[in-house]
Subunit: 147 residues, 4 copies
C-alpha cells in the first residue's frame, strides 16, 4: 500500500464510521461494518422477530435497508456526499428469523458525479438472498468528515 | 357495485387487514391503511426522528418499506399469496422529520401468476418523494384469509 | 390553449420532427409519430420478419428501441437536449409479425435536470406488450432546434 | 474438464449457434459470438452510421439489442428455452461510429426457472458503455436444439 492508498483507506474508514454513527435506522437495526475500503463496503445485520412479515420471512424493507446502508457507505467512502438516485432489488431467497445477513457493496462504475454499485445480500450459509444495484449522485464536494 | 364486486372488495379489505396484522415491521412503523380495493392500496406512515439518516432526511429503507407494504397489500388483495420478485425505486425528493408519507399502489399489469404495480410515495403537500415499480409472483392458490 | 401553451406545443412538435429526421435507426424501422405534446409522445412501428428472434416473436431489442424513441421524443420536447441515463423494461406479452406497436410516453416526474418517463408499448388490440420506465438527464440548455 | 463439463460446453456452443442463426435481428446487425460457455456469453457488434441517433451517437436501442442478445445466448445455454422477463440498462458512455462493442454476459443467480444475468457492454478501448441486468424465466423443458 502506498501512502496515498493508506490515506484513502483511512478516509473510507472514517467516513463509514461517521455515517453509521449518524444513522438512527442503522443503529436501531444493529447494523455493523465488517469491511470497508474506497468504493467498497461489507455490512451485516441479524434478522429478528420484529423484522418478519405476514409470510414469517424477513420483510423486504429490512433487506433493502441493509443493502442501502452498504451502498451509502461505499458511495460516500471518498468524503464527498453522495445520495441514492435509484435502486433496483431482486429478492431471490427468503431471509428467516435469526439469519445473519451480510451486504457486500462494490463499485462497478464511477464517472464525474455518478456512480453505480452492486450489492449482494447473503446469509450465514453464503446463499444469495437479494441482488441490489444502486445508482448514486454526488451532491457536494464536502462529505461526512466535514460536518 | 355488483354483488361480485362487493365480494371482491370485501376480500381485498380482509386480506389487507390480515396482512398488516401479521406484519411486525409495518406495525412498528405505525403504517396505516387509508384505501384498499382489488389491485390497489393506499398506505400512510409518519417520519420520526428514528427514521433519519446521516443527512437528516428519511432513510431510503423506510420509504422503500412503506412502498413495499403498499405493493404487498395490493398484490395480495385477491387472497392468493403473492411475493415481490423485484422492485425498482427512484428517490426524487427527500422526506423530512414529521412528514406524513402516503404510498399509493396501482396494478398496471396482471397475467397468470405475474403482476406489475406502480407505487407513488408522496408527502403531506402532495409532492412526490419516490417512484417504485414492483414485480410480483403468485406462489400459492391460497392467501392471507386461509391461514 | 393560451399563447404560451401554443408556443410550447409548437416547440414540442418541431423538436420531435427534428429528432426523428436525424435518427437513422428510427427511420430504418419506419417509426412514425402519432401524437406529441410537451412531456408526451406516441410513436408507432410495425413488426416485420426482419425483427423476429429465434422464438419467432419480435426481438426485445426492437420493442426497446421503439419505447426508447418515444422516451427520447418526450424528454426532448422542451428543446433542451436530454439523454437516457437508465431504462427498465418488462416484457409482458410477445409481439408478432405484422403487429402494429404503439409506444406511449408520459412524463411522471421532472425536477431540475432529471426526468422520469413511463412508456407503455401496446399492440393493435390495445394489449400491453411491454412496460418501460426511463430516467433522463438534461445535458445542454440548447436542444434539437438549435443545431 | 470432465466429460460432463465437455458435454455441457458443447450444448452451450450448439445452442448459441442455433439461436443466432434464427435471429434475423442479430444477423442484420452482424452480431458475432466471441466466447460461450454454460451461463456465459461474449458477443460483439460494430457501430455503423445506420445506428446513430440525432446526437450522432449509437442509438440506445442497438446497445440494448447487443446486450439482450448476449443475455439470450447465456440464459439459453442449457438447452431449455428461456425468455427475458425484464431488463435494466444504464448508459454510462456514448458509443460512436465504427466502435467495436462487446457485450459480456455472466450468470449471477439461477434457481428453478428464474435466472439473473449481468451484461457489461464495452468498447474497443475496454471502456464501459452500458451496464445491463436481465431477469430470465425458463418457459420450456426443451430448447434451441430440439426445434
Amino acid at each position: 500500500m502506498t501512502d496515498q492508498q493508506k490515506a484513502e483507506q483511512l478516509i473510507a474508514e472514517q467516513c463509514a464510521q461517521k455515517l453509521l454513527e449518524q444513522d438512527e435506522a442503522a443503529k436501531s437495526l444493529n447494523i455493523t461494518i465488517d469491511t470497508i475500503s474506497p468504493g467498497h463496503a461489507g455490512l451485516a445485520m441479524s434478522v429478528t422477530p420484529q423484522m418478519l412479515n405476514g409470510h414469517k420471512t424477513c420483510h423486504g424493507g429490512f433487506i433493502f435497508t441493509l443493502a442501502d446502508c452498504a451502498f451509502a457507505v461505499a458511495c460516500n467512502s471518498y468524503n464527498k456526499t453522495a445520495v441514492a438516485a435509484s435502486c433496483d432489488i431482486s429478492f431471490v431467497r427468503p431471509g428467516h428469523d435469526t439469519d445473519r445477513l451480510t451486504a457486500t457493496a462494490n463499485e462497478i462504475h464511477k464517472a464525474g458525479r455518478n456512480g453505480i454499485y452492486d450489492i449482494t445480500v447473503s446469509n450465514q450459509n453464503n446463499e444469495t438472498i437479494a441482488l441490489f444495484r444502486g445508482k448514486s449522485r454526488i451532491i457536494s464536494k464536502t462529505g461526512p468528515l466535514d460536518d
